[in-house]
């Protein structure tokens, strides 16, 4: 039997990164501050994991200013969306196998 652990996405195995990607898959875009509130985390922690997702090109960033305040928004990329799907499938597979 194939080992489902191999199909887990290394990047998304981290809980916060998985959460960020989940929110972006369900929404057109989300701002940094909105993510911070929703996920109840700190600036530094969120920034670190967003950087990691950016590096993998799982998400894309647009920076703009609203009334002189920086507004940084994130979107999921096609690469991120398919990685998320694969990771979900692997999680599902894992649960199925361990039920047996």
């Amino acid at each position: 039997m194939k080992n489902p652990f191999e199909n887990l996405d290394k990047i998304l195995e981290h809980r916060l990164r998985l959460q960020i990607v989940s929110v972006l898959v369900a929404n057109d875009s989300y701002a940094f501050n909105e993510l911070k509130e929703l996920l109840d985390t700190t600036d530094g922690n969120l920034a670190t994991h967003i950087k990691a997702l950016e590096r993998e090109k799982y998400i894309s960033v647009t920076k703009s200013f609203i009334e002189k305040k920086p507004n940084t928004r994130y979107k999921i990329s096609e690469r991120g969306r398919s990685a998320f799907k694969k990771h979900l499938d692997a999680l599902e597979e894992l649960i199925k196998q361990q039920k047996k």
């Binding site: 809980r15 929703l38 996920l39 599902e92």
Partner: protein
């Protein structure tokens, strides 16, 4: 990675996808109370219009004091419902540990607000031009459309509440003399029914 961890990952994904899209803090209780306010309002309106015997609404055209009183009653019902809705959402948000003013509630207000503001202007135009017999239907129809528009940011069941309001609104256009009756049904009974369903499903 163990099975529990995989399961809790999936659970957290499910919750976040819902919470990031939907305003989950709306309480069923506010639906029930809004329905009760609407029924109380309707009974006051009934006294204003019919004063004991049934007259078709077409006959109170031009009777301005009554129209003003009806608008005051309707506004009081609306304000009481909004305050109640805000109060119960505030309490539920506290319990769920979510924020009441976030991306989802802003999005919800826009989705509800556009059809409601347009409907409000249209209904005022009806009042201004003396088409009193279509006011009840117009309010029900625009409210139904607003609910359907907002349902993707709320619970899925809101969509069905919207369809019911539309059905009652359409029937109300066919029986222009009985607007108050349909109004009490759409805003009173339906809200109480919907609120009780939501309360037993999500709030306990």
């Amino acid at each position: 990675m163990r099975k529990e961890s995989a399961q809790s990952d999936i659970e957290s994904i499910r919750q976040l996808m819902e919470r990031s899209v939907k305003f989950v803090s709306l309480s069923g209780l506010s639906g029930i109370l809004a329905g009760i306010y609407a029924l109380i309002g309707a009974s006051f309106a009934y006294q204003q219009i019919y004063s004991g015997f049934v007259v078709r609404s077409i006959e109170y055209q031009g009777n301005i004091p009554i129209v003003t009183n009806l608008i005051i009653i309707a506004s009081l019902v609306l304000i009481a419902s909004l305050v109640t809705g805000w109060w119960f959402s505030f309490r539920k948000a506290k319990r769920l540990g979510t924020k009441i003013w976030d991306k989802t509630s802003k999005r919800l207000l826009i989705k509800l607000g556009v059809p409601l503001v347009i409907g409000g202007f249209f209904t005022l135009a009806l009042v201004y031009n003396g088409y009193y017999n279509l006011i009840g239907a117009s309010v029900l129809l625009f409210y139904g459309l607003a609910l359907i528009n907002a349902s993707s940011s709320l619970f899925e069941e809101v969509r069905y509440l919207g369809y019911c309001e539309l059905a009652i609104g359409i029937v109300a256009t066919l029986f222009p003399g009985y607007a108050l009756f349909f109004w009490a049904m759409g805003f009173g009974l339906l809200h109480i029914l919907y609120g009780s369903l939501m309360y037993s499903k999500y709030d306990r």
